[in-house]
């Protein structure tokens, strides 16, 4: 009995000792983690600081300005939501948003579709030198500054530019027109410039994605008698889900937030036909000196981009699970 109680006591003492050491270890661990965390915080501080100062703060200020009527110089007056209401009621402002969505067709769908097709074709002869040349040539537009691309294309699309010269050579002279100055063709013409610029990026991303697809999948498909078309739709395309989402995200943002190409090629003309929100924000802020309205449109544009791009991301996560 006594012996037993001694055993128990000893046992308890052991337990207590054990608890004591675990506690100490835990505390030490926590301290180490804290120390490490402090170090991590210190290391990320410069980046966080830069992010707060150059990203968060400007966004916050834009939101704030959007509630004021302000010319950028003199004292401002509180405007409440009137700048946002004006966007809904001004056909010029809402028209620019419609134009931006039309551009998605050219800036996103065309480059992604063409990119898929081209990448698939290049994959067919991936090991040859031709593939390297093709890849380089097709990627080149991506490294040309947008302004330079805009100037180059506005020459090519002008009345006596290359595009019209080709039409005339082919005996299609009656189709020749000042593409960027014609009400019917100005927006598609701007779209073509964007498609040309963004195509290379999409192709390269998709091509990179294709290299990580397991070759045995293709072998299996071929054994089952699948042709190249079936192979593409059953193996290539599903495996590229994430890459396609990345391409769409990048290009849709480029379409909705477009500025440089339009500014260089048409400045929004003819007759506001190619006016986009980016350009409108610039005109509002720097020509009409309505910093409040410009900020409101900027906030709306940011929300629109998020509203379109965020649902896309869940598409890519579903693909993973």
């Amino acid at each position: 009995m006594q012996k037993r109680s001694t055993t128990i006591r000893r046992h308890r003492e052991d337990e207590a000792a054990a608890r004591f050491t675990t506690d100490r270890r835990r505390r030490a661990l926590r301290a180490r983690r804290l120390r490490r965390g402090g170090l991590a915080l210190a290391l990320t501080a410069p980046a966080v600081l830069a992010y707060v100062v150059f990203v968060i703060r400007p966004i916050a200020m834009t939101v704030q300005y959007s509630f004021y009527k302000w010319d950028g110089i003199t004292p401002s007056t509180w405007a409440g939501l009137s700048n946002y209401v004006a966007i809904l009621h001004n056909p010029e402002l809402s028209g620019s948003i419609v134009n931006a969505f039309t551009l998605i067709l050219f800036f996103s769908f065309v480059p992604v579709a063409l990119g898929l097709f081209t990448a698939n074709a290049i994959r067919g002869f991936a090991t040859s030198r031709l593939a390297v040349v093709a890849r380089t040539v097709l990627f080149l537009p991506q490294i040309i500054p947008l302004v330079a691309a805009g100037i180059m294309w506005s020459w090519q699309l002008s009345t006596d530019g290359v595009v019209n010269q080709v039409f005339r050579l082919l005996g299609l002279g009656r189709l020749a027109r000042p593409w960027l100055g014609d009400f019917g063709t100005a927006l598609p013409a701007v779209g073509v410039i964007g498609a040309w610029v963004l195509f290379g990026l999409c192709m390269l991303l998709l091509l990179a994605g294709m290299t990580k697809i397991d070759p045995s999948l293709y072998e299996a498909a071929r054994v089952d008698g699948a042709g190249p078309v079936r192979e593409f739709f059953s193996i290539t395309l599903p495996s590229l889900r994430q890459e396609v989402v990345v391409c769409l995200t990048v290009t849709i943002i480029a379409a909705l937030a477009s500025f440089d190409i339009v500014y260089i090629a048409t400045q929004g003309g003819p007759g506001n036909r190619t006016l986009v929100p980016g350009l409108e924000i610039y005109y509002l802020a720097f020509f009409q000196r309505q910093v409040g309205s410009a900020s409101a449109l900027a906030v709306v544009l940011m929300l629109l981009v998020l509203a379109v791009v965020l649902p896309l991301q869940s598409l890519s996560r579903e693909g993973k699970s």
Binding site: I56, S76, S158, W179, G181, F286
Partner: protein, 441 residues
Amino acid sequence: MILGTALALAACSAPGGTAGTSTAASTGSATFAGGSPTCGTSPVTLSTYIETGFPLPKNLTDEFTKQYPNVTFKIREDQFAVITQNAPRVLVDDPPDLMRLPQVSGLVKDGLLLNLDPYAKAFGWDKWPASQLEQMRVDADGRRGDGPLYAMGLNFSMTGVFYNKDLAATFGMTEAPKTLADLDAALKKAKDAGITPIVQFNGGATGGLAFPLQGLMASYGDASAINSWIYQKSGATIDTPTNLQAAQHLQQWISSGYFASDVNSIDYATMMSRFIDGKSAFIFDGDWESGNLDQKMPGKVGFFLMPPAQAGGKFGAMSAPLTYGISAKAKHADCAAFFLNWVATNQQARTIDVQVGGSHPMGPADAFMPAVDKNTVTAQTLAAGAQIGADNGAMDFIANATGAIYAKSWTPNLQKLVAGQIDAKGLLTAVQADYKTQIGS
């Protein structure tokens, strides 16, 4: 996080300060004490902000330094569009002594420009023909045309019609049209001869059809009524019966194919190069190109003012000073004003104005004028300037009525007129509606 909150809090005060506690500079005024302001004798550096691409200002400052060696110029150059965007910020942050200015009313409202009335009195500018300075006067409500003087011109330019004499001879036009009907006939003859009658810039953000339109407005109506609209006089409208006639006339030129077919994609540089290459008979442009045309096509270019609708009628033309102002915070305002007076009154400066700038110098009506070769287009534009003065037909540009009326209303609506999407009436209604919104805001 703490830092972020601090920054966010710092950003929370109303932008530009609240209406009660104005931080803007109070409207400045000239500071010289008695007598005529001068540049003195000790070294002075005038900080100067000019428009790039035009040799006139630099020629003038060089000559000034030659005559007054104690004065030098620190010159910053930008394109006019950049100056337009940055004018308020530059005038506040880095106030120049002399600056090329866009439309002044907004800048005056914000108290950024020096009131030049004391200088005008000291130098006797108030005795010059009043129309020269009218556009640079701004009243207490921010309306132009009246009130204190806030800027000064290096010269004043004027617009009209340039024509290629060689091409005109091929379709039988040997002298300048005297009436609008004569001009219509000449345009038709050019068209029938297979020549593009008019090449005019109207592409992108440039509504160059405003040039012929305003010329036609002056042919049908009264120049002073158009000025009232530009100066935002209360009740003024652009949608008047005579302006409608003018817009309909322009629309008829468009439908008759008198403009190059791609007019909606032509920018200013394209217009000039096509005209200089002899690809069209007429352009509507200003005398700032006179010197250039005399050099590129010597003896081949003629100039006339847009003819009146009826024979013997009065002439009207857009005419505007090459506007320079002094910042309300300028360090050497007296010297800058002395320079502006020198440009208008010094013989050498006036000669440079005509020979380099191609436009008429500012100053008294009977001031010295350099001799100009009669065969040059410069001589013709200077003569036309005298005609406009006699007919009191000088107008500011309809594109200057508000800061945004050109880019946001005239340009898109004129492009729509070309494309047949709106008619003459629609053009005037749309512009008047935008005008009212922009003034109201």
